[in-house]
Each structure stands twice: as C-alpha cells, then as structure tokens.
Symmetry: none
C-alpha cells in the first residue's frame, strides 16, 4: 500500500480517546457458556455500541496470537509485521530509560538457582520491588561501568523484573534468551543467532556480564541470578505526530504499555490508582492533547489468571467508567483491546478483538446494541485488520482530507 | 508483510482435516430460489456450524473467479497471486509425472476436426480412457524422442485429456493456448506471448510437434488432433512441512487435485470409491499424518453441469459423511470449497465461498446455526482472504506460537 496517510492529515481541536481494555476478547466458557463480555452487565458499553459502530479486529493477522507490542502497534495504526519491537526495548522504555539509537536492551528476570546451578524459581519468588531496587544498587556498585567498550545500565522494573541496556558501537540483537523456560535445568549460556562480528562481540560482553552478576549475587537467598530475554536494538519509529498530526497523551500504569506509547511519541501522563482516576487525568489534561490512550490492564490479567468471574467483574468496572469518559465530551471514542485473552485459555489468543467506534457527529449506526464478540461479528466495521482502526478514528474526528481529486 | 509463519510453528499431535467440497458455493436458483446449500437437508453440517465459526472466503480476491489451481493454493495458505501454477503443470503432477525444474507442461485435449480442419468436437466425443491410452501409445511409437533438443513426453490423463511435457534447456511458458474455445473454427497456431528467444524456440518446437501429431492421427475417426492449453514451467513451491511443520496427506481422486496437493508437498494417499471410503482412508492413516486434505469433486461437477438437483443431492452426500469424520476425533475440521460453482452459471464463479471452522477446544461460537452462504455472511470469521484459513486452523490446533513480546 503506497498511501501516505500523513499527506491527508488536517489538524483541528477534536479529541479522540482510545480506551484499551487489554486482552478483552474471549471465547465462551463459564457457568453459562458465554464469553466474559456476554456474561458481564455492561449497560454503558452497550449504549456506546448502539450509538456507534462495531466490528472484529485482527491485531496482526487472522490466526496470529499477538504479543503486547504488536497488539498495541496495531492499535496505534502501525503495521505490526513491519515495525518489530522486542521485549527488552519495551521494558526499557517502560522504566523511562532515555534510549538512543543503537542501544541494546534486554529484560532481566531475577531467578533462584540451587547449589547445582539449576533454576528452581524463574521469578525468584516474585521478590518485592524494594528488594529488586536494593539488589540493582548492589550490582551497580560492584559491576564495572563498561565491558569491552559497552556501557552497562541496569534498572529496576517491578517485582522480579529488571532491564539491562548496553550502549556501545556495533551491538547485535541476534542473541537467544538465556531463560530456559523451565525449572530443574541450568540457565542457558548466551548464544548468537548468527555468525556476524557484532553478534560474537555482543555474546562475549553478555557472557562476561552474567558471570560477574553470578558472583556478586551468590550470597542472595532468593535473587541469586538473572535470566535474560528479548534482546532488542532500539529503532526509532515515526511518531504519531508525524504520521497523524496528533498530540498524543498516554495514561497507562504498567511499564510495557508506557513503553510502546513512548515509542510512537506519546507523552506519558501521570496515572491514578484506578480507571476512574485515569479518566480524571485525561479530563485534567484535556486542553493539552487531542488524542488520549487510556490503558486498562485488568481484563488481560484476569484472563491470564484463568479467572472468569474476576474478568467479568473487571469488565463491569470498565463499563462503570464510561459515563465519566462521556462527560469529557470526546468527539471520538474507541473501546477495544490489543488482543484476546480468554480465561479458558489463560493466555493471549488469536481470536479477533471486539471493537466499538463511537463518534456521534459522523457514525453510521449498524444496529448492534450489545458490546460483545458475537454481536460485534454482525457490526458495520466487519472484520478488519486492527491497523485501520486509527485511520477510521481520525476520519470520524475530521482529521483526514479526501484522497485524490 | 514480513511475518514468516514458519518461525512461529510448533509441532504437536493435534490433527487438522480440510474437507474440501469443490465448487460448493452458489447463488440462488432452483424451484425455491435458494442456493443448493440452502435447499439441501444438512443436519450434520449445520451442527458443525453451530458448534464452530463460519464466514465467507475469497480464494483469490473479491470479484476474481479462481481456477482450481489458485483456489486450492489459497486453501493451503499460499497467496495465489504470488504462486502461479499453470494447468499443464497440474495435469502433469496429477498423472504422477516426475517433473524437474524447467520442465514445460501443457494439457492436451483430443479433439475432432472436420475435413476443412475446423474443430467439430473440442473433446473428441469424450473418448474412453482406454482409447486415449491406445492413441498415446501410437503417438509415442511414431513421434521422435526429441525435437530441437527438447525431449517429448506424452501421457494419458483420462477420457479425452492427456499431458505433454517438454524437457529441455531454456523453454518458455509464454505460449497462448491452441484451443480456440469454439467449434467451427480451426485450432489456433502456437503463438508466443512475448518476443524472447526462449519463447520463439518453444513456439517452433510446439509447431513441429503439432504438425507431426496431426499427420499421425489423420486416420483416427474421433481423436484426430489435439488442442493444447495451459503451458506452464515447473517451479518448486515451499512445502507445507517447511511452512507449517505439517505432515500432510491428500485423499483426492481426481488428477488435478492430486497434482496441486503434491505440489505443496503432501503425500498422495490411496483413495476409495466415494467420500465415506475416503474418510475411512484418513482413519486408517490417522497416526501417520497431522493434516488431511479430503477432496470431494461432485459439488463442482454437478454445478458445472448446471444440475441444481444433483448438486443438492451431492451436498446431502457430503453431509451424510460428517459423522464418520467426527468419529475420527479430529481437533480441527474445516469444511469449505476452493471456489463457488453456481449451477445457475454452470461455471466457476467469483462469489466468496462459505466456510466453517470447527475446533471444540478453542472456537468462539458465533451464533450461526446453518451452513450456507447467507448464514455464513453473519459469521465470526467475517469475509476474509482464503489464504488465512490455514493459519487459523493451525492456531486452533495450537501449532502457532505468539508473535512478538
């Protein structure tokens, strides 16, 4: 596709809100063999659906289960198979680390090894964040500032999770995870995925680093080693300002979502303790931004926990926040997720995500009066790649000019 | 799009069955102005639909009428506009000819010419296969082994259909058919579609060959000439094993479908005399394969014959075979076609094909309770390119890992 959307952009003071309920889509289960959205009482979402347009969206492609990175890139209108961002990069952005082009980031999970060097807990008993901070401070004090010319940065993420950034010349992201994804076996040695010079150099640096970390943490009762995942080089993405002319603010509590929002140039705004407080933040900053990304994590978390009832309750919490959102008088509201997380499957899934687009001035109502997966299948949006959602929202906000004469 | 599906593949022992009712889609006609699927009594297909997910699939693209080659490539997940296979190639593969890279194949139809050299029957009265074999033997005995350095191979397909393969260096497939697609006119002379050297050389070879065939067959009462169609060079396709990690078996009676299955690396299994016997073959080979392609030709054949009632009966035969298929306890079942063949049109058509996907462990039921074109339009699968069907089936068989972090 050769249409450059940015050539059609026109600015105005209309406001778009993307309310993203992470992992909201599902499949039938529970006592009544309904999806959690079908089971939940959602009068406010149903009203938005009745006044709006619904559909089913594929974050990446039919049949493909998206990670949170590709899922959110799709939401923000970026083709997720073109813009690939690794886990390490998302973690680094999430802790607010000022990445530069060429930086190599990885997620570190503190883990517990036994005396034989086998992993007994891949999350070190999910140590509290304060404990993580103490251990990171200890590592920073005892590790060298650089290894083979690459500057070493370590930062706490939360609980057992930390971030490693290497800053140097010619680093490679072609490294396998050292997390063996199992207990009772030793961590994997750093290994290159190709035979290039940069990869060999990076593997050597990571080996030296891990060897020193192991010595420094030897006396820790729980977090006595780290497992590295998702080595990724920082690549600058075109921003939402460049692509869509939007001044975008993100209200997201969890690091990964702050990370991906930051990657597309959103300003990370302050956050509250729950969804209503986060909507209040949008209200407070209403004059400063014309696009708000409000992230609601708990529909995914409860899905991953396999807790059907809890997911239903979280959907009802989402529903209860809709009047506060409407009170801000947005011009366009989108409610959808970055992927499906059926509690029956306890994991992200490939099922397309129910979506609603609400824009009182310009919507074509489609007769759908409930917001759930089955009702959305009959909606006017049909089944579409997720990446088109952003440009439909821009259109309804009158921010896109006609293409061609 | 840069997503390489093979990087996401994980193997397991779940089994996928693609039950392909050739040309099953249609448009309303008949005594009640219904499609054949709407008219037929299909309790078993309707039950699969109710328990599964339905949709309408475009084998190539909306508005494009697919040949059997592109239709089946779409079914098997290959973009049909990227992987082009000509009719000659399919015929050659169908008779089990061991093609090598660079071989040029064409379908030959025996035809009857009158004394003026005009075509009076483009199918030579549909001579029996035994007659075809006799004539091929006669040609092989009298023709040279090679013309201008290109080895000549002729093989019987069935009835009036035969296969020509030229094996030599620098052959071209840019040749027009010599079948005039009409009677009362002479066969077309071999003609190149471009001015390249290889094309000129190939045209010269085919001209010499046809001239000799005409002399040898001059005394035949019916099959006194051949019409050539679908010149195609053999190109090796990536196999389903490479792309999807599948061990795939094909149960198809007709040469063309065996050909395309073989082209994507399926093993051609033995066949029975009807659909129930073919499903029994799958049962017998159940432990050896994790993907079965079972082809049912007669929904297309009756459609091409314009026989509405016969197509309805064939659909009911398809329906009656479903319990035997379910008894094998597959994990994923797909029922669809490679294209539509409305009996009202007596030909392949561009109408999207009704499809159902059944996978009890992971399906999102969409409320569709009948398997027909109209009901499928409201299904959760929506309207999708056919090529996505394979990856959705793989996802439901838990054979694809998550994409991205």
């Amino acid at each position: 596709m050769s249409l450059d959307l940015s050539t059609l952009v026109q600015k105005n003071d209309k406001r778009i809100v993307f309310l993203i309920a992470d992992g909201i889509g599902s499949i039938q289960s529970g006592p009544n063999s309904l999806t959690e959205l079908q089971q939940a009482r959602t009068p406010n979402l149903d009203q938005l659906a009745a006044e709006g347009e619904c559909g089913l969206l594929d974050p990446v492609m039919p049949g493909i289960t998206p990670g949170s990175g590709p899922g959110h890139l799709g939401l923000f209108g970026y083709e997720p198979t073109e813009f690939i961002i690794g886990r390490g990069l998302l973690s680094a952005l999430g802790v607010g680390f000022p990445l530069k082009d060429g930086d190599l980031a990885a997620r570190l999970n503190f883990a517990t090894l036994d005396k034989q060097g086998n992993v007994v807990d891949r999350r070190a008993g999910r140590i509290p964040t304060e404990e993580n901070e103490r251990i990171i401070a200890k590592l920073v004090a005892k590790l060298p500032k650089a290894i083979d010319g690459a500057k070493i940065v370590l930062q706490t993420e939360a609980e057992h999770r930390a971030v490693l950034v290497l800053r140097g010349k010619g680093l490679s992201q072609s490294l396998a995870d050292t997390d063996p994804q199992a207990t009772g076996v030793p961590p994997l040695d750093p290994k290159g995925l190709d035979a290039k010079t940069g990869t060999k150099k990076t593997v050597a640096i990571v080996k030296k680093l891990l060897s020193q970390i192991r010595k420094i943490l030897a006396d820790e009762p729980k977090a006595n080693f780290v497992l590295a995942r998702g080595f990724a080089l920082h690549t600058e993405l075109p921003s939402m300002a460049e692509r869509y002319g939007l001044t975008a603010g993100a209200i997201a509590n969890y690091p990964m979502y702050r990370g991906v929002a930051s990657l597309v140039g959103m300003t990370l705004l302050e956050t509250g303790n729950n969804l209503l407080e986060n909507i209040a933040v949008a209200g407070k900053r209403w004059q400063e931004y014309d696009f708000f990304f409000i992230h609601f994590k708990y529909t995914d978390k409860t899905g991953e926990d396999g807790d059907y009832e809890a997911k239903v309750k979280r959907i009802e919490e989402l529903d209860a926040a809709i009047p506060a959102l409407r009170a801000l008088k947005p011009d366009v509201v989108v409610v959808t997720g970055d992927h499906s997380t059926p509690s029956k499957l306890k994991a992200h899934s490939w099922h397309p995500v129910p979506a609603l687009l609400w824009a009182p001035a310009t919507i074509r109502r489609d007769g759908v009066t409930e917001f759930n997966e089955v009702a959305c299948a009959a909606g006017g949006m049909g089944r579409l790649p997720m990446k088109y959602l952003m440009q439909m929202a821009l259109a309804h906000a009158d921010k896109l000019m006609k293409f061609g004469a």
